[in-house]
């Protein structure tokens, strides 16, 4: 049986082993790319296997309820830090999303990264390992480690292969994230000390710390620090300003990973750590959370409408879409939370696809100005089809994936906070407006600049077709994914399994 192996560790180490395999091919761009892609595919196969057999994996009822696989070993006993990894339904969905997104990101940057390719691939694989770790870690110190480790490759990715004001953007990205993280680090240490004071045991293990009895005001301080770190990643208004810059100036693969995965680490952290550890404080701050999410949805949609740069527009739409995820978490109710988690995956796929599309257009026309295009439907029909398809998915067309997530979020929130749900509907209308404008100006309308554009290459067609199939599958038949996260969501929101 495969489960005898430390599969979760393999998930993290496999990309790092891939980095080592790249070393001998450092100056050979042609052979380095397939090696990296092969590693990413292997990772995808492994996570797909985990997904395929999650029902058969022995549920670890006795040790940790809801978890399918757990690995645990001492790491730094002097500080009570353990190497604890755990896989439950939510992590599994995120692991699946991660390995899938990295395959897409590597494929989409196949030709566009012309310089220092091996370095690029190494950084991508390192980042994959870091993100896997974030989604698997169950020890707060270990989580923090991975949380920071995944930043470094992204810092280089934007800074080296980015466009425009790339250095400004990448430093801004790094400092914003560090600001929240450092305060969270203090909160993690403080939580551990409080736990040690109560029980005499020094540990950073999530499931031990969950038992800590905390007075309401202490909870509030600690939660505030966690919330800040996660809200910056989310990003919630008014902490979002790094995101448009980072997205716009990142290379396509960077944007895909940023939108598809890095933003999700924020929402994932809130679901896994923030809310369960500090339930009282979370309840107190729920109105604030709702308000920021709503402002984010409406503000980002309006700003998106005014954008001239397609990538920036999609970046702002990302903020709006993540607002729904935020509302679903804030409601902390089984339906809404399932919707949020599903929406995390949906947004990763759809927005990732949109960034791929913009990247492909940028490679051809060397501009992302909306005003430069128009009439693409007649010139590059395949491309335009996918552009329209993913735009429709992004605005929540029933039958495609975003609809399911947003519907569940709003349906669940309606029970808890009808006013919030009602206001969030406004956001959907606004999404419609800016998306229609984008599609109308780029795809339809008259041609504004005579650009010689070629239609999709087989590689690009493959990327987009796969993404579209996943989109439709998640939209038409989300039940298996909902089954996957059902158990953990019930446990988190206080129901039994």
């Amino acid at each position: 049986m495969l489960t005898e192996y430390p599969l979760l560790t393999i998930l993290i180490l496999l990309p790092l082993a891939g980095c080592l395999a790249l070393l001998p091919l450092w100056n050979c761009r042609v052979s380095a790319r397939p090696v990296a892609l092969g590693v990413a595919l292997l990772e995808l196969v492994l996570s797909a296997w985990l997904y395929g057999s999650w029902r058969e994996l022995t549920p670890l009822q006795a040790k940790l309820p809801g978890y399918l696989l757990v690995e645990d070993a001492p790491w730094i006993p002097a500080f009570g830090i353990r190497y604890t990894l755990g896989l439950d339904g939510i992590s599994l969905l995120m692991v699946l999303l991660t390995s899938f997104t990295f395959c897409i990101a590597l494929l989409v940057s196949w030709n566009s990264i012309k310089e220092k390719t091996a370095l690029f691939l190494t950084l991508m694989l390192t980042m994959e390992a870091g993100i896997m770790g974030v989604f698997l870690a169950l020890d707060l110190a270990l989580f923090y480690l991975f949380w920071e480790v995944m930043l470094i490759p992204m810092f280089f990715l934007i800074g080296i292969w980015g466009h425009g004001r790339k250095i400004y953007s990448t430093i801004k990205f790094f400092l914003f994230t560090m600001f929240g993280s450092l305060l969270m680090l203090l909160a993690i240490i403080a939580l551990q000390l409080l736990h040690a004071k109560q029980t005499g045991i020094t540990t950073f293990g999530l499931h031990e710390l969950l038992k800590t009895q905390l007075p309401a005001d202490t909870q509030l301080w600690l939660f505030a620090a966690f919330f800040l770190a996660f809200a910056i990643k989310f990003p919630l208004f008014p902490l979002h300003t790094w995101l448009p810059d980072a997205h716009t100036d990142a290379p396509t693969a960077g944007s895909v990973v940023l939108a598809g995965l890095l933003l999700k680490t924020g929402s994932y952290g809130l679901i896994r750590f923030g809310y369960p550890l500090f339930p009282l404080a979370a309840q107190t701050l729920t109105p604030l959370f709702y308000t920021l999410a709503l402002i984010g949805i409406i503000y980002a949609s309006l700003v998106a409408f005014a954008q001239e740069d397609m990538k920036r527009l999609i970046a702002y739409s990302s903020i709006a879409h993540m607002g729904y995820v935020a509302i679903g978490i804030a409601a902390w109710q089984p339906v809404a939370l399932s919707g949020s988690i599903l929406q995390m995956a949906n947004h990763g796929v759809t927005t990732g696809a949109l960034f791929c599309l913009v990247g492909m257009l940028d490679e051809r026309a060397h501009t992302r100005e909306i005003a430069a295009f128009g009439g693409l439907w007649g010139k590059i029909p395949q491309y335009s089809f996918f552009f329209l398809f993913f735009s429709l998915a992004s605005l929540g067309l029933p039958g495609l994936n975003n609809f399911v997530g947003e519907f569940l979020v709003l349906a669940g929130t309606m029970k808890k906070a009808p006013l919030v749900a009602a206001l969030a509907f406004i956001g959907i209308v606004l999404t419609l407006i800016y998306t229609v404008r984008l599609v109308q100006e780029v795809i339809f309308q008259e041609e504004r600049q005579p650009l010689a554009l070629a239609d999709l290459t087989p590689r690009e067609l493959l990327i987009l077709a796969v993404l579209a199939v996943v989109d439709v599958w998640m939209g038409v038949h989300p039940a298996p994914l909902l089954d996957l996260i059902h158990g953990p969501v019930q446990l988190l929101t206080g129901g039994g399994l």
Binding site: L145, E148, G159, T170, L186
Partner: protein
């Protein structure tokens, strides 16, 4: 002095005697294998301290696991600095036997300071290595900056030595003894004279550790000294000074003012160092100011001494030293007949000289406290101790200052990898000894970040 005592003292004897030996050898056969000889002597001292765990008590010196640990640490740092200096000095025309001989002498002084059991020996050790550094800083005789730095260091250093000497005189006047153990007994009922003495000694130590407000010499000296000298000055000398400070800490007894003093030193150093470093355009000056900030975190750990802060401080100084050696090592490996000084000179160097680039980048990430480098574990330990001690305010200020620091450390990485090089083409690749030195320092910085437990265990053992 028995034979066992001599054995225990051997590492110091090797270094001190070796210093004379190198001088003689240089006089007899100029241009011989002096660096190799010095390297062999340091290695011998290193191995001796590592392999022969003797304890000994003799007049003025007590050799304990604590001092042996520091000997190993200092000799290792000295060896790396010597390896860096071989190539660097050849390129920049620093010849003669003075350099290796003085380096050995400095190591001997540091070793004595870490093992002192009375104030006289402590003073002797500290001033011996500081004296050696006066020479090393100004060793390039035709360099204006080096001369200026040497003079500034000499003036400041003499002042601090005078202050520390005065403090020791007051302590002697108050108690009639120079023995640390005797003084620690007197600390239970301190009189004003005694307290004044301890405070003056602390101020002298603050100078050696470049803690604000006794830090003003740091930037000029770091910038003016040759890079391998700065590498040693910013790592080993800091380590030895910290060891000396730990030896005199019992003199404060339970006096609550110590906490306030250290608190203020930590606060000023973290803020002054990190904010001043923001504004520097010279890489060495920036690193100098940043080391003031880094020492602030050591002081923060000392504030939290009752809650495991001592181990945190020692761990921090070790990881700071590995990162410092990697950083200044990269600088010295990148220098040709001239040292690139401005930050702008490092544009694109990460590609033109990959090993030095990686070393410098890893060092920057470690100093910034970003995992998986050792700097993260160091900061983690310091903040863990500080919060356990209840120093929440200082911890929050410290962590925000660390955020400021992230910015200027990243700027170096940006220069190395994200700015186009001024002129392309491979640089002269570093020599064999430099490759070894850089690889060791960088690997240690990464290893201690991933697997710090053995060092943490060792530190817990020597602090008993």
């Amino acid at each position: 002095m028995s034979q066992a005592d001599v054995y225990a003292l051997m590492p110091l004897l090797i270094l001190a005697g070796g210093s004379v030996l190198v001088l003689l050898a240089g006089a007899l056969k100029p241009g011989g294998y002096l660096y190799e000889l010095a390297g062999a002597l340091i290695t011998a001292a290193l191995l001796w301290s590592l392999l022969l765990p003797d304890m000994a008590v003799m007049p003025g010196l007590t050799i304990t696991p604590f001092s042996r640990f520091f000997w190993v640490f200092l000799d290792a740092a000295g060896l790396v600095a010597l390896l860096l200096a071989t190539g660097y000095n050849r390129r920049r025309g620093i010849t003669g036997e003075e350099y290796p001989a003085t380096l050995l002498f400095a190591l001997a002084g540091m070793g004595a300071a870490c093992a002192a059991s009375d104030l006289l020996m402590l003073f002797l050790g500290l001033e011996a290595f500081t004296f050696a550094f006066y020479i090393l800083v100004a060793i390039k005789r035709d360099s204006v900056k080096g001369g200026e730095a040497g003079l500034k260091y000499l003036l400041n250093g003499t002042l601090s030595a005078a202050i520390m000497g005065m403090g020791m005189a007051l302590l002697y006047a108050a108690t009639g003894t120079l023995k640390l153990s005797g003084l620690a007994l007197a600390a239970n009922h301190p009189e004003a004279l005694f307290l004044a003495g301890t405070c003056l000694v602390l101020l002298g130590m603050a100078f050696k550790l470049s803690l604000a407000p006794a830090h003003l010499w740091t930037a000029d000296v770091y910038q003016g000294a040759p890079a391998p000298v700065t590498a040693l000055l910013s790592t080993a000398s800091k380590g030895a000074s910290l060891a000396a400070l730990l030896l005199v800490l019992p003199l404060f007894g339970a006096w609550h003012g110590l906490r306030d003093l250290l608190w203020a030193l930590a606060l000023f150093s973290m803020l002054a160092g990190n904010f001043a470093a923001l504004r520097q355009s010279s890489l060495k000056r920036m690193l100098a100011w940043s080391s003031v900030g880094q020492m602030g975190y050591v002081a923060l750990a000392l504030v939290a001494a009752p809650s495991g802060g001592l181990r945190a401080a020692l761990f921090y100084i070790v990881v700071y030293a590995t990162a410092g050696l990697a950083a200044f090592g990269a600088l010295s490996a990148l220098s040709d007949r001239f040292e690139p000084d401005r930050l702008d000179d490092y544009r694109g160097l990460g590609y033109r000289c990959p090993l030095a680039g990686i070393s410098l980048a890893v060092a920057m990430f470690s100093l910034a406290g970003i995992p998986p480098t050792a700097g993260f574990i160091g900061k983690f330990g310091v903040f863990n101790a500080a919060l356990r001690q209840g120093e929440t305010t200082l911890a929050i200020i410290g962590i925000l200052a660390a955020l400021v620091a992230v910015f200027f450390y990243l700027r170096v990485v940006v220069m190395l990898y994200m700015k186009p090089a001024v002129d392309s083409g491979e640089l002269r690749s570093p020599g064999f000894s430099e490759i070894i030195a850089l690889a060791v320092a960088t690997a240690a910085t990464l290893l201690l970040g991933i697997y710090p437990q053995p060092l943490l265990d060792l530190l817990a053992k020597i602090l008993i």
